[in-house]
Protein backbone atom coordinates (compact mmCIF):
# COMPACT_ATOMS: atom_id res chain seq x y z
CA UNK A 1 0.00 0.00 0.00
CA UNK A 2 1.11 3.57 -0.60
CA UNK A 3 1.94 5.34 2.64
CA UNK A 4 2.65 9.04 3.11
CA UNK A 5 3.68 10.81 6.27
CA UNK A 6 5.66 13.87 7.23
CA UNK A 7 9.04 13.03 8.69
CA UNK A 8 10.89 15.96 10.25
CA UNK A 9 8.72 18.30 8.21
CA UNK A 10 9.27 16.65 4.82
CA UNK A 11 6.55 14.66 3.07
CA UNK A 12 7.67 11.06 2.49
CA UNK A 13 5.75 8.56 0.34
CA UNK A 14 6.57 4.90 -0.30
CA UNK A 15 4.80 1.82 -1.51
CA UNK A 16 5.29 -0.81 1.19
CA UNK A 17 3.62 -3.93 2.55
CA UNK A 18 0.92 -3.03 5.04
CA UNK A 19 2.67 -5.13 7.70
CA UNK A 20 5.70 -2.80 7.62
CA UNK A 21 6.63 -1.50 11.05
CA UNK A 22 7.17 2.22 11.45
CA UNK A 23 10.78 1.72 12.56
CA UNK A 24 11.59 -0.04 9.28
CA UNK A 25 9.72 2.53 7.20
CA UNK A 26 11.78 5.28 8.79
CA UNK A 27 15.10 3.45 8.53
CA UNK A 28 14.82 1.54 5.26
CA UNK A 29 12.32 3.51 3.19
CA UNK A 30 13.00 7.02 4.40
CA UNK A 31 16.70 6.22 4.92
CA UNK A 32 16.85 7.85 8.35
CA UNK A 33 18.99 5.49 10.36
CA UNK A 34 19.25 7.67 13.45
CA UNK A 35 16.28 5.81 14.91
CA UNK A 36 17.68 2.52 16.18
CA UNK A 37 16.08 -0.84 16.29
CA UNK A 38 16.99 -3.16 19.12
CA UNK A 39 14.82 -5.59 21.03
CA UNK A 40 11.84 -5.66 18.68
CA UNK A 41 9.61 -6.29 21.71
CA UNK A 42 8.79 -2.76 22.96
CA UNK A 43 11.17 -3.10 25.87
CA UNK A 44 14.43 -1.32 25.00
CA UNK A 45 13.26 2.06 23.69
CA UNK A 46 16.04 2.40 21.08
CA UNK A 47 13.33 2.92 18.46
CA UNK A 48 11.51 5.80 20.18
CA UNK A 49 10.42 8.62 17.88
CA UNK A 50 7.54 11.08 18.08
CA UNK A 51 4.18 10.72 16.40
CA UNK A 52 2.43 14.11 16.47
CA UNK A 53 4.82 15.15 19.23
CA UNK A 54 4.28 12.12 21.47
CA UNK A 55 7.03 9.51 21.88
CA UNK A 56 6.16 5.96 20.84
CA UNK A 57 8.10 2.75 20.35
CA UNK A 58 8.19 2.57 16.57
CA UNK A 59 8.87 -1.19 16.53
CA UNK A 60 5.34 -1.64 17.87
CA UNK A 61 3.43 0.57 15.46
CA UNK A 62 2.58 -0.07 11.84
CA UNK A 63 3.79 2.46 9.29
CA UNK A 64 0.23 2.30 7.96
CA UNK A 65 -1.06 3.65 11.27
CA UNK A 66 1.38 6.57 11.02
CA UNK A 67 0.18 7.56 7.55
CA UNK A 68 -0.99 11.17 7.50
CA UNK A 69 0.76 11.94 10.78
CA UNK A 70 3.77 14.06 11.72
CA UNK A 71 6.84 12.05 12.65
CA UNK A 72 9.88 13.52 14.36
CA UNK A 73 13.06 11.46 14.60
CA UNK A 74 16.37 12.17 16.29
CA UNK A 75 17.54 13.79 13.04
CA UNK A 76 14.82 16.37 13.59
CA UNK A 77 16.14 17.62 16.94
CA UNK A 78 18.83 19.81 15.45
CA UNK A 79 17.50 23.14 14.18
CA UNK A 80 19.34 25.35 11.63
CA UNK A 81 22.64 23.68 12.33
CA UNK A 82 22.23 24.10 16.10
CA UNK A 83 22.06 21.11 18.39
CA UNK A 84 19.15 20.88 20.76
CA UNK A 85 20.18 21.37 24.42
CA UNK A 86 19.36 17.71 25.05
CA UNK A 87 21.97 16.71 22.45
CA UNK A 88 24.47 19.17 23.89
CA UNK A 89 23.80 17.75 27.34
CA UNK A 90 24.81 14.27 26.22
CA UNK A 91 28.07 15.73 24.87
CA UNK A 92 28.78 17.78 28.01
CA UNK A 93 28.05 14.97 30.46
CA UNK A 94 29.32 12.03 28.41
CA UNK A 95 25.81 10.57 28.26
CA UNK A 96 26.72 7.80 25.86
CA UNK A 97 29.26 5.09 25.31
CA UNK A 98 28.31 2.83 22.39
CA UNK A 99 25.44 5.17 21.50
CA UNK A 100 22.92 2.50 20.66
CA UNK A 101 20.31 3.67 23.16
CA UNK A 102 21.04 7.36 22.55
CA UNK A 103 18.44 8.28 19.89
CA UNK A 104 15.64 6.92 22.07
CA UNK A 105 17.08 8.59 25.17
CA UNK A 106 17.26 11.92 23.34
CA UNK A 107 13.69 11.76 22.06
CA UNK A 108 12.31 10.74 25.44
CA UNK A 109 14.52 13.24 27.27
CA UNK A 110 13.43 16.16 25.08
CA UNK A 111 9.77 15.26 25.57
CA UNK A 112 10.24 14.89 29.30
CA UNK A 113 11.73 18.40 29.52
CA UNK A 114 9.01 19.87 27.31
CA UNK A 115 6.44 18.63 29.84
CA UNK A 116 8.49 19.13 32.98
CA UNK A 117 11.28 21.70 32.49
CA UNK A 118 12.84 21.13 35.93
CA UNK A 119 12.57 17.40 36.64
CA UNK A 120 14.01 15.80 39.75
CA UNK A 121 16.44 12.90 39.41
CA UNK A 122 13.60 10.55 40.29
CA UNK A 123 11.36 12.02 37.60
CA UNK A 124 14.12 11.64 35.02
CA UNK A 125 14.73 8.01 36.00
CA UNK A 126 10.99 7.31 35.83
CA UNK A 127 10.81 9.16 32.50
CA UNK A 128 13.47 6.97 30.88
CA UNK A 129 12.30 3.76 32.54
CA UNK A 130 11.13 2.48 29.15
CA UNK A 131 14.65 2.69 27.73
CA UNK A 132 17.52 0.32 28.32
CA UNK A 133 21.17 1.32 28.29
CA UNK A 134 23.69 -1.49 28.57
CA UNK A 135 26.75 0.76 28.86
CA UNK A 136 26.45 3.83 31.03
CA UNK A 137 24.68 2.64 34.15
CA UNK A 138 22.29 5.58 33.52
CA UNK A 139 24.11 8.03 35.83
CA UNK A 140 25.54 10.09 32.97
CA UNK A 141 22.27 9.95 31.05
CA UNK A 142 20.44 11.42 34.03
CA UNK A 143 23.18 14.07 34.34
CA UNK A 144 22.88 14.87 30.62
CA UNK A 145 19.14 15.45 30.87
CA UNK A 146 19.72 17.58 33.96
CA UNK A 147 22.29 19.61 32.03
CA UNK A 148 19.75 20.25 29.29
CA UNK A 149 17.20 21.31 31.91
CA UNK A 150 19.72 23.78 33.32
CA UNK A 151 20.67 25.17 29.88
CA UNK A 152 17.38 25.52 28.02
CA UNK A 153 18.65 28.14 25.59
CA UNK A 154 22.18 26.93 25.23
CA UNK A 155 21.88 25.54 21.75
CA UNK A 156 24.47 27.98 20.44
CA UNK A 157 26.98 25.31 19.48
CA UNK A 158 27.08 24.52 15.77
CA UNK A 159 26.44 20.94 14.78
Amino acid sequence: MEISMKINGAEVTHDVESRTLLVHFVRENAGLRGTHWGCDTSNCGACVLWVDGTPVKSCTMLAASAAGHDITTVEGLEKDGKLDPIQQGFIECHGLQCGFCTPGMLMTGRWLLDNNPKPSEEEIREGISGQLCRCTGYKNIVDSIHWAADHPAENEVSA
Binding site: R19, T41, S42, T54, T60, M61, T108, S129
Partner: protein
Protein backbone atom coordinates in the same frame (compact mmCIF):
# COMPACT_ATOMS: atom_id res chain seq x y z
CA UNK B 1 14.01 -9.56 12.86
CA UNK B 2 10.46 -9.94 14.06
CA UNK B 3 7.76 -8.69 11.77
CA UNK B 4 4.09 -9.59 11.52
CA UNK B 5 3.00 -11.99 8.76
CA UNK B 6 1.41 -10.32 5.73
CA UNK B 7 -1.85 -8.70 6.72
CA UNK B 8 -4.30 -6.27 5.17
CA UNK B 9 -4.95 -2.95 6.84
CA UNK B 10 -7.94 -0.67 6.88
CA UNK B 11 -8.79 2.39 8.94
CA UNK B 12 -12.29 2.59 10.33
CA UNK B 13 -13.93 5.99 10.04
CA UNK B 14 -16.62 5.43 12.70
CA UNK B 15 -17.78 2.76 15.12
CA UNK B 16 -20.50 1.82 12.63
CA UNK B 17 -17.89 1.50 9.89
CA UNK B 18 -15.65 -0.64 12.15
CA UNK B 19 -18.60 -2.92 12.95
CA UNK B 20 -19.46 -3.39 9.30
CA UNK B 21 -15.80 -4.13 8.46
CA UNK B 22 -15.72 -6.71 11.24
CA UNK B 23 -18.91 -8.28 9.94
CA UNK B 24 -17.61 -8.35 6.41
CA UNK B 25 -14.39 -10.15 7.37
CA UNK B 26 -15.61 -12.37 10.20
CA UNK B 27 -13.02 -13.96 12.46
CA UNK B 28 -10.16 -13.13 10.07
CA UNK B 29 -10.37 -9.50 11.23
CA UNK B 30 -8.91 -7.97 14.38
CA UNK B 31 -9.29 -4.51 15.79
CA UNK B 32 -6.04 -2.57 16.15
CA UNK B 33 -6.06 -0.22 19.15
CA UNK B 34 -2.70 0.70 20.73
CA UNK B 35 -1.21 -2.40 19.13
CA UNK B 36 1.03 -3.00 22.13
CA UNK B 37 -0.32 -6.46 22.77
CA UNK B 38 -1.57 -7.36 19.31
CA UNK B 39 1.53 -6.48 17.27
CA UNK B 40 3.90 -8.39 19.61
CA UNK B 41 1.56 -11.39 19.32
CA UNK B 42 1.50 -11.07 15.53
CA UNK B 43 5.30 -10.94 15.44
CA UNK B 44 5.35 -14.22 17.37
CA UNK B 45 2.58 -15.68 15.15
CA UNK B 46 0.43 -16.12 18.26
CA UNK B 47 -2.13 -14.03 16.39
CA UNK B 48 -2.54 -14.25 12.60
CA UNK B 49 -5.39 -12.03 11.50
CA UNK B 50 -5.86 -11.49 7.76
CA UNK B 51 -6.97 -7.92 8.21
CA UNK B 52 -6.47 -5.25 10.83
CA UNK B 53 -9.20 -2.69 11.41
CA UNK B 54 -7.45 0.35 12.89
CA UNK B 55 -9.74 2.23 15.30
CA UNK B 56 -7.28 4.99 16.25
CA UNK B 57 -9.19 7.65 14.29
CA UNK B 58 -12.42 7.11 16.22
CA UNK B 59 -12.85 10.14 18.45
CA UNK B 60 -16.19 8.73 19.63
CA UNK B 61 -14.12 6.18 21.60
CA UNK B 62 -12.04 8.83 23.36
CA UNK B 63 -12.57 10.94 26.42
CA UNK B 64 -13.15 10.58 30.14
CA UNK B 65 -16.35 12.12 31.44
CA UNK B 66 -18.84 12.06 34.30
CA UNK B 67 -22.36 10.99 33.36
CA UNK B 68 -24.86 10.97 36.22
CA UNK B 69 -23.25 8.96 38.99
CA UNK B 70 -20.79 7.18 36.71
CA UNK B 71 -17.38 7.93 35.26
CA UNK B 72 -17.18 6.87 31.62
CA UNK B 73 -13.83 5.99 30.07
CA UNK B 74 -13.76 5.51 26.29
CA UNK B 75 -12.12 2.43 24.81
CA UNK B 76 -9.39 4.44 23.04
CA UNK B 77 -8.34 6.38 26.13
CA UNK B 78 -4.63 5.69 26.65
CA UNK B 79 -2.87 4.65 29.83
CA UNK B 80 -1.15 8.06 29.81
CA UNK B 81 -4.52 9.82 29.73
CA UNK B 82 -5.86 7.70 32.59
CA UNK B 83 -2.72 8.46 34.59
CA UNK B 84 -3.12 12.21 34.21
CA UNK B 85 -6.93 12.47 34.37
CA UNK B 86 -8.10 14.93 37.07
CA UNK B 87 -11.61 13.37 37.03
CA UNK B 88 -10.32 9.89 37.75
CA UNK B 89 -7.88 11.16 40.35
CA UNK B 90 -10.56 13.12 42.18
CA UNK B 91 -12.84 10.13 42.57
CA UNK B 92 -10.49 7.18 42.38
CA UNK B 93 -6.76 7.64 43.07
CA UNK B 94 -6.48 3.88 42.46
CA UNK B 95 -6.23 4.70 38.74
CA UNK B 96 -3.17 6.87 39.16
CA UNK B 97 -1.54 4.37 41.50
CA UNK B 98 -2.13 1.52 39.06
CA UNK B 99 -1.15 3.45 35.94
CA UNK B 100 2.14 4.60 37.45
CA UNK B 101 3.24 0.98 37.46
CA UNK B 102 1.73 -0.17 34.17
CA UNK B 103 4.52 -0.68 31.65
CA UNK B 104 6.62 2.49 31.09
CA UNK B 105 5.79 6.06 30.05
CA UNK B 106 6.31 5.39 26.34
CA UNK B 107 4.18 2.23 26.22
CA UNK B 108 1.55 4.12 28.20
CA UNK B 109 1.31 6.62 25.34
CA UNK B 110 -0.10 3.85 23.11
CA UNK B 111 -1.80 1.18 25.22
CA UNK B 112 -5.54 1.74 25.68
CA UNK B 113 -8.34 0.96 28.10
CA UNK B 114 -10.21 -1.12 25.49
CA UNK B 115 -7.10 -2.98 24.39
CA UNK B 116 -6.21 -3.81 27.97
CA UNK B 117 -9.70 -5.08 28.73
CA UNK B 118 -9.93 -7.15 25.54
CA UNK B 119 -6.41 -8.52 25.76
CA UNK B 120 -7.48 -9.83 29.18
CA UNK B 121 -4.03 -10.92 30.23
CA UNK B 122 -4.35 -12.56 33.67
CA UNK B 123 -1.91 -9.91 34.97
CA UNK B 124 -3.67 -6.93 33.33
CA UNK B 125 -3.74 -4.20 35.97
CA UNK B 126 -6.87 -2.38 34.77
CA UNK B 127 -8.85 -5.61 35.11
CA UNK B 128 -8.04 -5.71 38.82
CA UNK B 129 -8.93 -2.02 39.13
CA UNK B 130 -12.22 -2.56 37.30
CA UNK B 131 -13.12 -5.47 39.57
CA UNK B 132 -12.40 -3.42 42.71
CA UNK B 133 -14.58 -0.56 41.42
CA UNK B 134 -17.35 -2.86 40.13
CA UNK B 135 -17.20 -1.28 36.70
CA UNK B 136 -19.35 -2.25 33.74
CA UNK B 137 -18.19 -2.75 30.19
CA UNK B 138 -20.23 -1.46 27.27
CA UNK B 139 -20.09 -3.63 24.14
CA UNK B 140 -21.54 -2.68 20.78
CA UNK B 141 -22.47 -4.89 17.82
CA UNK B 142 -24.66 -4.52 14.74
CA UNK B 143 -27.79 -4.91 16.87
CA UNK B 144 -26.91 -2.28 19.46
CA UNK B 145 -25.25 -1.94 22.84
CA UNK B 146 -25.23 -4.10 25.94
CA UNK B 147 -23.49 -3.80 29.28
CA UNK B 148 -21.59 -6.52 31.09
CA UNK B 149 -20.41 -6.19 34.70
CA UNK B 150 -16.60 -6.34 34.97
CA UNK B 151 -17.08 -9.29 37.27
CA UNK B 152 -18.71 -11.29 34.49
CA UNK B 153 -16.58 -9.96 31.67
CA UNK B 154 -13.71 -12.46 31.70
CA UNK B 155 -14.39 -15.95 30.40
CA UNK B 156 -10.86 -17.08 31.21
CA UNK B 157 -7.28 -16.03 30.45
CA UNK B 158 -7.30 -13.90 27.28
CA UNK B 159 -11.02 -14.56 26.80
CA UNK B 160 -13.82 -12.09 27.34
CA UNK B 161 -17.48 -11.56 26.56
CA UNK B 162 -16.53 -9.49 23.50
CA UNK B 163 -17.37 -11.75 20.54
CA UNK B 164 -16.31 -11.57 16.89
CA UNK B 165 -18.01 -8.63 15.25
CA UNK B 166 -18.20 -6.63 18.49
CA UNK B 167 -16.42 -3.59 19.87
CA UNK B 168 -15.87 -2.62 23.46
CA UNK B 169 -16.84 1.05 23.38
CA UNK B 170 -16.41 2.20 26.98
CA UNK B 171 -16.03 1.19 30.60
CA UNK B 172 -18.24 2.81 33.27
CA UNK B 173 -17.38 3.09 36.95
CA UNK B 174 -20.01 3.96 39.56
CA UNK B 175 -19.05 6.96 41.72
CA UNK B 176 -19.20 6.14 45.41
CA UNK B 177 -19.16 9.42 47.35
CA UNK B 178 -16.48 9.44 50.03
CA UNK B 179 -14.86 6.23 48.81
CA UNK B 180 -11.19 5.53 49.46
CA UNK B 181 -9.17 3.53 46.95
CA UNK B 182 -5.61 2.24 46.60
CA UNK B 183 -3.48 -0.06 44.43
CA UNK B 184 -0.48 -2.21 45.32
CA UNK B 185 1.71 -4.16 42.92
CA UNK B 186 4.90 -6.17 43.07
CA UNK B 187 6.83 -6.54 39.83
CA UNK B 188 10.28 -7.95 39.18
CA UNK B 189 11.60 -4.76 37.65
CA UNK B 190 10.30 -1.35 36.72
CA UNK B 191 7.64 -1.53 34.01
CA UNK B 192 7.09 -5.27 34.23
CA UNK B 193 3.83 -7.16 34.56
CA UNK B 194 2.68 -7.93 38.10
CA UNK B 195 3.92 -10.91 40.07
CA UNK B 196 0.80 -10.07 42.03
CA UNK B 197 -1.28 -6.91 42.39
CA UNK B 198 -4.21 -5.89 44.58
CA UNK B 199 -6.56 -2.94 44.60
CA UNK B 200 -9.26 -1.87 47.01
CA UNK B 201 -12.15 0.55 47.00
CA UNK B 202 -14.13 1.02 50.23
CA UNK B 203 -16.72 3.27 51.82
CA UNK B 204 -17.04 3.73 55.56
CA UNK B 205 -19.95 5.11 57.52
CA UNK B 206 -20.70 5.06 61.22
CA UNK B 207 -17.28 3.54 61.82
CA UNK B 208 -17.89 0.41 59.76
CA UNK B 209 -17.31 -0.64 56.16
CA UNK B 210 -20.44 -0.03 54.11
CA UNK B 211 -19.03 -1.31 50.84
CA UNK B 212 -15.86 -3.16 49.95
CA UNK B 213 -14.40 -3.84 46.50
CA UNK B 214 -11.27 -5.96 46.13
CA UNK B 215 -9.41 -6.50 42.85
CA UNK B 216 -6.59 -9.01 42.56
CA UNK B 217 -4.40 -9.56 39.51
CA UNK B 218 -1.97 -12.21 38.26
CA UNK B 219 -2.78 -14.92 40.81
CA UNK B 220 -5.81 -16.51 39.18
CA UNK B 221 -8.44 -14.93 41.39
CA UNK B 222 -11.89 -15.69 40.01
CA UNK B 223 -13.02 -12.61 38.04
CA UNK B 224 -10.04 -10.72 39.49
CA UNK B 225 -11.80 -10.42 42.83
CA UNK B 226 -12.42 -12.06 46.22
CA UNK B 227 -16.12 -11.98 47.09
CA UNK B 228 -15.92 -13.85 50.41
CA UNK B 229 -13.36 -11.42 51.78
CA UNK B 230 -15.49 -8.49 50.65
CA UNK B 231 -18.64 -9.87 52.28
CA UNK B 232 -16.72 -10.61 55.49
CA UNK B 233 -15.66 -6.97 55.88
CA UNK B 234 -18.97 -5.24 55.22
CA UNK B 235 -20.45 -4.05 58.53
CA UNK B 236 -17.14 -4.53 60.36
CA UNK B 237 -14.83 -1.89 61.76
CA UNK B 238 -11.73 -1.10 59.72
CA UNK B 239 -9.35 -2.53 62.31
CA UNK B 240 -6.00 -4.13 61.47
CA UNK B 241 -7.30 -7.52 62.64
CA UNK B 242 -10.43 -7.42 60.46
CA UNK B 243 -8.45 -6.31 57.44
CA UNK B 244 -5.79 -8.97 58.00
CA UNK B 245 -8.46 -11.67 58.27
CA UNK B 246 -10.10 -10.51 55.03
CA UNK B 247 -6.74 -10.35 53.26
CA UNK B 248 -6.05 -13.93 54.30
CA UNK B 249 -9.45 -15.03 52.97
CA UNK B 250 -8.72 -13.24 49.71
CA UNK B 251 -5.35 -14.97 49.37
CA UNK B 252 -6.90 -18.35 50.16
CA UNK B 253 -9.34 -17.88 47.28
CA UNK B 254 -6.50 -17.34 44.75
CA UNK B 255 -4.93 -20.17 42.83
CA UNK B 256 -1.61 -18.89 41.43
CA UNK B 257 0.66 -21.08 39.37
CA UNK B 258 4.43 -21.12 39.58
CA UNK B 259 6.20 -19.51 36.64
CA UNK B 260 9.21 -17.35 35.85
CA UNK B 261 7.67 -14.59 37.96
CA UNK B 262 7.79 -16.70 41.12
CA UNK B 263 6.64 -19.80 43.01
CA UNK B 264 2.99 -20.26 43.92
CA UNK B 265 3.37 -19.91 47.71
CA UNK B 266 5.26 -16.63 47.28
CA UNK B 267 2.48 -15.26 45.05
CA UNK B 268 -0.14 -16.33 47.57
CA UNK B 269 1.74 -14.55 50.29
CA UNK B 270 1.83 -11.45 48.10
CA UNK B 271 -1.92 -11.70 47.51
CA UNK B 272 -2.44 -11.58 51.27
CA UNK B 273 0.06 -8.80 51.96
CA UNK B 274 -0.91 -6.58 49.02
CA UNK B 275 -4.65 -6.96 49.69
CA UNK B 276 -3.99 -6.00 53.31
CA UNK B 277 -2.00 -2.92 52.31
CA UNK B 278 -4.51 -1.82 49.69
CA UNK B 279 -7.45 -2.23 52.10
CA UNK B 280 -5.59 -0.42 54.87
CA UNK B 281 -4.75 2.58 52.70
CA UNK B 282 -8.19 2.66 51.07
CA UNK B 283 -9.84 2.62 54.51
CA UNK B 284 -7.61 5.44 55.73
CA UNK B 285 -8.50 7.50 52.65
CA UNK B 286 -12.27 6.94 52.91
CA UNK B 287 -14.27 9.90 54.22
CA UNK B 288 -15.82 9.17 57.57
CA UNK B 289 -13.01 6.74 58.45
Amino acid sequence: MQTPAPVDYVRATSVADALSLLQQHGDEARLLAGGHSLLPMMKLRLARPDILVDINDLDELRGIRVEGNEIVVGAMVTHAEILSSPILFEHYPIFREAEKVIADPIVRNKGTMGGSMCQADPAEDLSAVGAALRGTVVIQNAEGRRTVPMREFHEGPYETKVADGEILVEVRYPILPGAGSAYEKVERRSGDWAVCAAGACVTISGGVFTSVGIGIGAVNAEHFTAVDAEAYLVGKEPTAENIAAAAQMAADSCDPSADQRGPADYKKHLAMELTKRALTRAAAAAKGA
